[in-house]
């Protein structure tokens, strides 16, 4: 989801891992990290361009897919995506699922 660049907007870069589709972010030293707070915060310019170039090489090396940059806000805990969609994508569903979903239901109905 490319957004028009705004002055000084910080960015991170995200992909899906090819083998299992899991969301990853580019961390410092061009390592893929699983958690958004560990992502490398990039200036919207040469830094982002270099990160995207690395991502494209990783696509070519069939490690990842669906490369794109995300707008983030920088907080003491690390980068937080600006858009709700990207926050949910980074953190996982906001609702419990599977056995974790059943636990409170069971507690509530007994």
């Amino acid at each position: 989801m490319f957004k028009a660049a705004t002055e000084g907007q910080k960015k991170i870069v995200t992909v899906n891992r090819l083998i299992d589709g899991r969301v990853m972010f580019l961390g410092p030293g061009n390592r893929w990290v699983m958690h958004v707070t560990e992502a490398a915060v990039l200036d919207d310019g040469a830094e982002l361009e270099a990160a995207m170039a690395f991502g494209r090489a990783e696509i070519a090396a069939r490690q990842v897919t669906e490369l794109y940059p995300i707008d983030v806000e920088v907080t003491p805990e690390g980068p937080v995506p600006v858009r709700l969609r990207e926050r949910i994508r980074a953190e996982g569903p906001t609702v419990a699922y599977g056995e974790a979903e059943r636990a409170p239901l069971t507690a509530g109905s007994r």
Binding site: I19, I59, I88, P93, T94, G98, L105
Partner: protein, 552 residues
């Protein structure tokens, strides 16, 4: 139930082998994502918000215990221990790894299931009334025709690259539980004056960004002509449907732009040309397929069950469940029992692997080996003796499957929304959960009576919000989740598209707004027998607008 013959087995196994090779080539770098995407989509594999998603077809919503157990096995072995039953009688797994998908498909093939044509611009899983072959009010079991349509449309070479996806639903009862009028083609199986089988054919319905109610272009099509007529419709659409604009490519737009009469004329002309071709349906072949769907031998039973009556008198929860979640069966002393996948506060349509296995066991022991998946995202035991209901209820209760809310305000249809879907603009599951929690008191739900709330997290309308008595559409407004509310929709034999009631609501206003709408209905209804939908149709928007916006 239908059983694969050698051709079907070979066909599905060949497809699994083909996809295994394609996945191997993708992982080896021989295929780019752009090359691979159409291949994976043809096998029901999406890349969603968090991971891949595999959509498995449950043809016409009928499952055997072995099939249900396999769905549980896949959830446990390859996914995160659960699956999500969808509004098109499919099941979706939200977390499979690409490398595992060929094995998943191979496992599915062992129980005669697949994910073919659950995505892409082709004829999708043919859906049917989830009470088919069992409901007391049914004229004909639509599933033999759904199966015939499945065979005809599977990898039909002319129709694998249509302008857009194509959905067919079939019903065989006057009470339409399959929402045939909001499908690309709706088939209503019925009997002619002399008892012979035929079909009313509806074309050009659909939801999505441009909701349309289908037009009936044939009141009575003889049984033998079913495939010729379907082929004629698909051919006209394939040739004339728009390919220049994805948003105008569904057959509903063609029917709308050309006019139903013009489309009927073209379909009829093509039909006349091909009706005596290889597509002619021989009667013995129809009867052969029909035999697979024969009503199971159910012993004659009394229309009343003293043991059930005693148990109901002693157990209010059982009494409520029997009253709300069972409907009359063709065979005296039996019912169809709806297993709600809408626990208060849960995700509509989700079931854990363990719950799937429980349902499989129940089907085997108590329901002649059959389970159904409804487009309302519930499961159904279609052939249950009254005498067994108390035992079934106890087992369901122990497994969080006994919510007595079929057709009530908490029995909400809901798409995965922004919690899972990469197309969504807003979350829908938390909205469904909060509405259900607000109305958690079952006495209150029963006082309100039949009320269908349907929620979509984007304009594509997988949650069928246009045909909700109360429809909720999530949008993104200035970066925030925002919800439009429509009233008066319905997806039955009196199909109507809901009307937007007014300005939308922020997430923190929405549940109050829904409650206001429902309280307004309760104040204005003539008597408890007047449903929300009937009251809305009588009253119009005015009292609801007044209640929602007058003080704003």
């Amino acid at each position: 139930m239908y059983r694969y013959d050698q051709f079907d087995h070979d066909f599905v196994n060949a497809r699994v082998a083909q996809f295994r090779e394609q996945v191997g080539r993708r992982l080896a770098g021989e295929l780019t994502e752009d090359q691979f995407r159409p291949l994976r989509l043809q096998n029901g594999l999406y890349l969603q918000l968090h991971a891949y998603m595999l959509r498995v077809a449950v043809p016409y919503g009928t499952l055997s215990p072995a099939q249900m157990r396999m769905l549980a096995h896949i959830a446990r072995k390859y996914d995160r221990g659960y699956g999500h039953f969808t509004t098109r009688q499919n099941i979706q797994y939200h977390w499979p790894a690409l490398g595992d998908v060929p094995d998943i498909l191979a496992d599915l093939a062992t129980v005669e299931m697949h994910a073919i044509q659950t995505s892409g611009n082709c004829v999708r899983n043919v859906t049917a009334d989830h009470f088919a072959g069992a409901a007391a009010d049914e004229i004909l079991d639509p599933r033999p025709y759904a199966e015939i349509l499945r065979q005809w449309s599977s990898l039909h070479p002319e129709f694998v690259h249509l302008p857009r996806k194509f959905k067919i639903a079939v019903t065989g009862a006057e009470r339409d539980r399959a929402a045939v009028q909001v499908h690309d083609i709706g088939v209503h199986a019925k009997r002619g004056p002399d008892g012979e089988v035929g079909f009313a054919v509806y074309v050009g319905g659909g939801l999505g960004r441009t909701p349309m109610i289908a037009h009936k272009i044939r009141d009575y099509l003889p049984e033998e002509d079913l495939l010729s007529y379907m082929e004629a419709i698909l051919r006209v659409y394939n040739l004339e449907g728009r390919r220049d604009n994805k948003f105008k490519a569904r057959i509903k737009i063609l029917v709308h732009e050309a006019g139903a009469d013009a489309i009927r004329d073209k379909v009829e002309a093509e039909f006349e040309r091909i009706r005596h071709s290889a597509l002619f349906l021989p009667e013995d072949e129809v009867r052969r397929i029909e035999a697979y769907f024969a009503l199971p031998e159910l012993p004659n039973r009394s229309p009343v069950s003293p043991s059930l009556d005693r148990a109901r008198a002693a157990d209010a929860a059982l009494d409520a469940w029997v009253r709300q979640n069972t409907v009359p069966h063709k065979v005296t002393g039996h019912v169809l029992a709806t297993i709600s996948l809408k626990p208060i506060g849960g995700t509509p349509g989700d079931a854990t692997a363990e719950q799937m296995e429980v349902v499989a066991d129940l089907a085997e022991r108590y329901s002649a080996g059959e389970v159904r998946v409804s487009h309302e995202q519930n499961l159904v035991l279609p052939h249950v003796a009254l005498d067994d209901l108390a035992d079934i209820h106890a087992i369901l209760q122990a497994n969080d499957l006994a919510t007595s809310n079929a057709g009530l305000v908490s029995d909400i249809i809901c798409c995965p929304g922004l919690d899972y879907c990469s197309l969504a603009n807003a979350r829908s599951i938390p909205v469904a959960q909060k509405i259900a929690e607000r109305f958690a008191d079952l006495d209150r739900q029963r006082t309100i009576g039949e009320l269908k709330i349907k929620i979509s997290g984007c304009i594509n309308a997988c949650g069928h919000h246009h045909v909700g008595h109360i429809g909720i559409l999530g949008v993104e407004k200035k970066g925030e989740e925002f919800y439009q509310v429509t009233l008066g929709g319905s997806g039955d034999e009196h199909t109507a598209i809901g009307e937007i009631i007014g300005r939308g609501f922020a997430a923190d206003e929405l549940i109050d707004a829904v409650e206001t709408i429902i309280e307004t209905y309760l104040v204005h209804r003539t008597d408890p027998g007047e449903t929300f939908l009937a009251a809305y149709r009588r009253l119009g928007q005015a009292p609801f607008k007044e209640a929602l916006y007058a003080t704003a």
